[in-house]
Symmetry: C2
Subunit: 222 residues, 2 copies
């Protein structure tokens, strides 16, 4: 274990991880968008990360980046911090799932490994964060995720909601008000083929959700 990576580098790696989860390379523009930084800045940083020893990303001009083994470990470390922190803010300080992100975003870079171990232990080594996302293990491996986006379901299918990914605070509050939280059982009632809206029922409530929403919700089909 070499250098302690800067906060900036940690954030780059984390977002590259997220953008490459689908198997594709992370593009300069997408990365710039996520990091709230100009594309020119991304290019420069990504070149540095590719040239560092050990290299943290694989990069060739105009082709975007992927993480190397080292880069991936570093990313998972940050993501583990982030998700453990979110879990712990919710469980012990009464944050709600729409309030935790910002604080975790800054804390993730400054907690020690000791702190990480302690909160993990105090919480009994949780497997998922408040949004239902897997928390990377202490050994920095990511559990295999076999959930599918809600947008893939059709009427009469039932499923259990596993996680909500990439939703802002407002959407999270809305989903909660509909009972659409991790663990809930839901049923698809209707599908509109033209706009891809789904009518979904959870508990006593039901609502029509657009593709915008249904592709941020991941479920396990029952």
């Amino acid at each position: 274990m070499e250098h302690t990576l800067t906060i900036s580098v940690q954030d780059y790696l984390k977002h590259i991880y997220e953008l490459t989860e689908n198997g594709e390379n992370a593009s300069t523009n997408a990365l710039a968008e996520k990091l709230d930084v100009k594309p020119a800045s991304v290019t420069v940083m990504v070149q540095k990360l590719a040239l560092s020893t050990p290299a943290l990303v694989e990069y060739q001009k105009h082709q975007g980046v992927t993480l190397t083994k080292e880069g991936r470990k570093a990313a998972l470390e940050v993501i583990r911090h982030h998700r453990l922190l979110e879990t712990w803010l919710v469980r012990t300080l009464g944050y709600s799932w729409d309030e935790v992100h910002e604080d975790a975003e800054r804390l993730e870079h400054v907690i020690s490994e000791d702190f990480e171990r302690r909160i993990a232990a105090v919480m009994g080594h949780p497997v998922r964060d408040p949004h239902g996302e897997f928390i990377p293990t202490a050994e920095l491996t990511m559990p295999l995720d076999d959930s599918v986006p809600l947008s893939a379901l059709r009427p009469n299918q039932t499923a259990m909601l596993q996680c909500v990914r990439g939703a802002d605070a407002e959407l999270l509050r809305h989903l909660e008000s509909l009972g659409l939280v991790p663990g809930v059982h839901l049923e698809v009632l209707e599908y509109s083929p033209f706009d891809h809206n789904l009518m979904v029922k959870a508990g006593s409530k039901s609502a029509v959700l657009g593709l915008n929403v249904t592709h941020k919700i991941f479920v396990e089909v029952l």
Copy 2:
């Protein structure tokens, strides 16, 4: 409220506060020492802080610095964070008093006001940190401290230990092993006028302490 002081600035202000508690100005060299930075860097930073609007320090060449009202508030905010965090790491995550400093040192700069309120509330608004130091109030005032250094006591005086200030981890562990922790009652048994050693008894244990140690321990005389 032009918050968003950099971490560096926050650390400067905190250490200036501590160096000026005795009423004196903080010297360039003393600050450099505390901040683990070269004196030249301190001079430059201190000039910037004096020139900013609002000014955070009062400075004139070769005379050292003091905090302005604004600088003092900012310093107390950081110190409140630090001490609340220490308290909370000890109470909820099982840190011991010699382990908390480093983590609190980094976390103090990144927690939100919301986070601060939450941990304060969860702990019932503690007044002192694990070392017995006063925690600045939410309104950023510092309680009046009427304790005196243990070094000022003489044989047959008894006192209650209030706080240990400026001790490193090793000394803290040593003091704990002697039962010298906040709240304990102690008695001075002997005094050596030449080296200023004190023989001190707390509970069943007693030990001879040098000036080095006795001026880091603050007590209330009974």
